[in-house]
Amino acid sequence: MTRRLPSFVRTTAFRLTLLSAALFALSSFLILAFVYAASAGAALRRTDAVINDELAAVERRYDESGIDGVNRYILQRTVGGSDFLYLLINPNGRLLSGNLNGIPEASVGEGGWLDFVYGRAPADGDVEDRDSRRARARLVEIGDGYSVFIGIDIDDEDRLIGRMLRAILAASALVIALGIASGVVVSRRFSRRLDAINTVARTVKGGDLTRRAPRNGSGDELDELSANFNAMLDRLEELMHRMRNVGDSIAHDLRSPLTRMRNRMEDALREDGDRRSRQAALEQALVDSDELLGVFNAILSISRIEAGERKDSFETFDPSPLVADMGELYEPVCEDTGHSFGMQTEPGFTIRGDKSLVSQAMANMLDNAVKYTPPGGAIQLRLRQCSDGRVEISVTDTGPGIPEADRVRVTQRFVRLEESRNQPGSGLGLSLVKAIADIHGASLDLAEGAGGVDGHGPGLRIALVFPLVEEKA
């Protein structure tokens, strides 16, 4: 039984359509069956009622004028042809009158009812001629051993019902056939659209990230699937692109210190004699390699923070001692580099997070300010509560600032503005702050600083805005 079915039969759409066709066919069959039962049953009940009425008329005649009256009545009724079938039978079983040749051979049921087949006299040629027609009758004794047999030809009705039954069956069959046909059509359409998406997926898997799934703009679920699929591909492409960029940046940032180190060592080897210069070359190589290790450590830290491992150790705390400690650590540094340092902090706020990471973020923000603000400038560390209740730690400097267009970019890994390429550093400082902000659910806002000093400016204001801490019940 491993014979393969045509491909569209294996599709979900086809199976679903088939299932719904089957259910539809079943339900329409049930409805029609109900209609059939109701109409056929009603016809039968009407027939019985007509027979009973006629029987009542015959019995009335018998009560009024005895068996002769009945005989006359039947003769009268049958003379010009009648819808009814009559027989009057005497106690000996002989036929006295009627329009049938004899009592039909059929078993008499409860209440004298019987269904039978009879041959109609050729004289009644006006109706559809048949050798045998179906009829229903009642055989009742009316008194003194006399019996009367009254029946109705139900052949036409019966055949109508038969036709109805056949029509119902044919209709059900048609419903199933149409269901299957529409299943084929729908599933083909459906699988064509899915195939298009699958083809794109395969192409992308093969390395071509530029392909996108077709959209028909209908907004249906397949269209939505295409849209989501495309959005996912966009994100993937962006990530790939960024990764390539990071790769390029790593290469760029690592190549110069590595090359420097290599050249220095080569020189040290070549230069004969001078021990002191060789010593100096080696020491400088050590500095270079420390710088390289710094870059690697920063990459590692960012990855670990982004992985979110530290979230387990989050606690709720007042950040003011942290800010004060960090200010105290950096104040001499700022003064040493010719900056004026200011700190504004007050206790009583709470944030939720990792103390060590928050300190590290502040250190990086301050490092940045010290590095980029020209001597004579001002650096300020500030802890405050925003008007919406969120707690903010900010560092404001009077350096060159970051052009608005670059503000998002600088928090990405390795992005260093061209102007600062010659500055020492991994280019990872702000990325680390961004990673720390992200894991805390905090936003990292970059804006213009307080303004310029000595023709520098406009300065940079970098702020970590922590989300509100939910009060524990």
């Binding site: 020491e283 050590l286 290790l293 710094g294 450590n297 590692l300 830290s301 670990r304 491992e309 530290r310 150790s313 400690d325 105290e328 650590l329 950096y330 001499p332 540094v333 040493d336 990792d354 060590s356 300190s359 590290q360 250190a363 990086n364 301050l366 490092d367 010290v370 590095k371 020492p424 550093g425 991994s426 400082g429």
Partner: protein, 224 residues
């Protein structure tokens, strides 16, 4: 001092042993956890250098086992994992210090010396520290040099206290950052150098002899 180095990486082990012997110490090597544990329990050492990842019982298990048997030989954990969490786990297991690979020999030596010092006289509560004519009173939190009082900020006091407790030995910038400020990351700027030079201007500048020395490529040393 006698140091047991439990480290499976042959090159790192050789580097440590060489650094130890250059500094005049005796290093013994075990290249797996099982041998290391046996050697640590059967011989007396002044300090242990234990790699975190080892064949056999790992570094943390070794230290935990030793501590459980009341062996409090100072232990320094080496690790390629640099996260604060890893550090905390290492210290919880009973390690006394934690150093992330790669590290400079000077850093390791400085830390080992600080560890053995701590293991020695550091346990008794001192109330006064002396280095040459520099005196520190831990109770009144005052500092005098050659009898003259010196005003120090609280952090400067802690910085000097740490240097005095480790007088004669090299302390690295990272050690100062960890022990005086409790920060376990490296700021990019030379924050420690600036603080040291401030301290130096207070305790050394007005006097003839310098006590606070810079050790190139390693850190600082307080010495007469």
């Amino acid at each position: 001092m006698r140091v047991l180095v439990i480290e499976d990486d042959a090159e790192v082990a050789a580097y440590i042993l060489k650094s130890l012997s250059e500094a005049g110490h005796i290093g013994t090597h075990a290249d797996n956890g099982k041998d290391g544990l046996v050697m640590a329990t059967s011989d007396d050492y002044d300090a242990l250098v234990v790699d975190r990842m080892l064949p056999g019982p790992d570094g943390l298990t070794i230290i935990r086992t030793l501590r459980a048997s009341d062996d409090h030989t100072p232990a320094l954990i080496l690790s390629a994992l640099g996260d604060v969490d890893d550090r905390v786990k290492g210290l919880k297991a009973g390690g006394d210090d934690y150093l992330v690979k790669p590290f400079a020999a000077a850093e390791l030596m400085a830390r080992l010396e600080a560890l053995t010092r701590r293991g020695g006289g550091g346990a008794t509560a001192e109330t006064e520290l002396h280095v040459a004519d520099l005196e520190m009173d831990l109770l009144s939190r005052t500092v005098r040099r050659a009898g003259q009082p010196i005003e120090l900020q609280p952090r400067e006091f802690r910085l000097l206290e740490y240097l005095m407790r480790n007088a004669g030995s090299v302390v690295t910038r990272t050690m100062l950052l960890e022990n005086v400020w409790d920060y376990h990351f490296d700021p990019q700027t030379n924050v420690i150098d600036v603080h040291i030079s401030r301290l130096r201007s207070k305790i050394d500048k007005p006097f003839d002899d310098a006590l606070l020395h810079t050790v190139r490529g390693a850190g600082y040393r307080l010495q007469a």
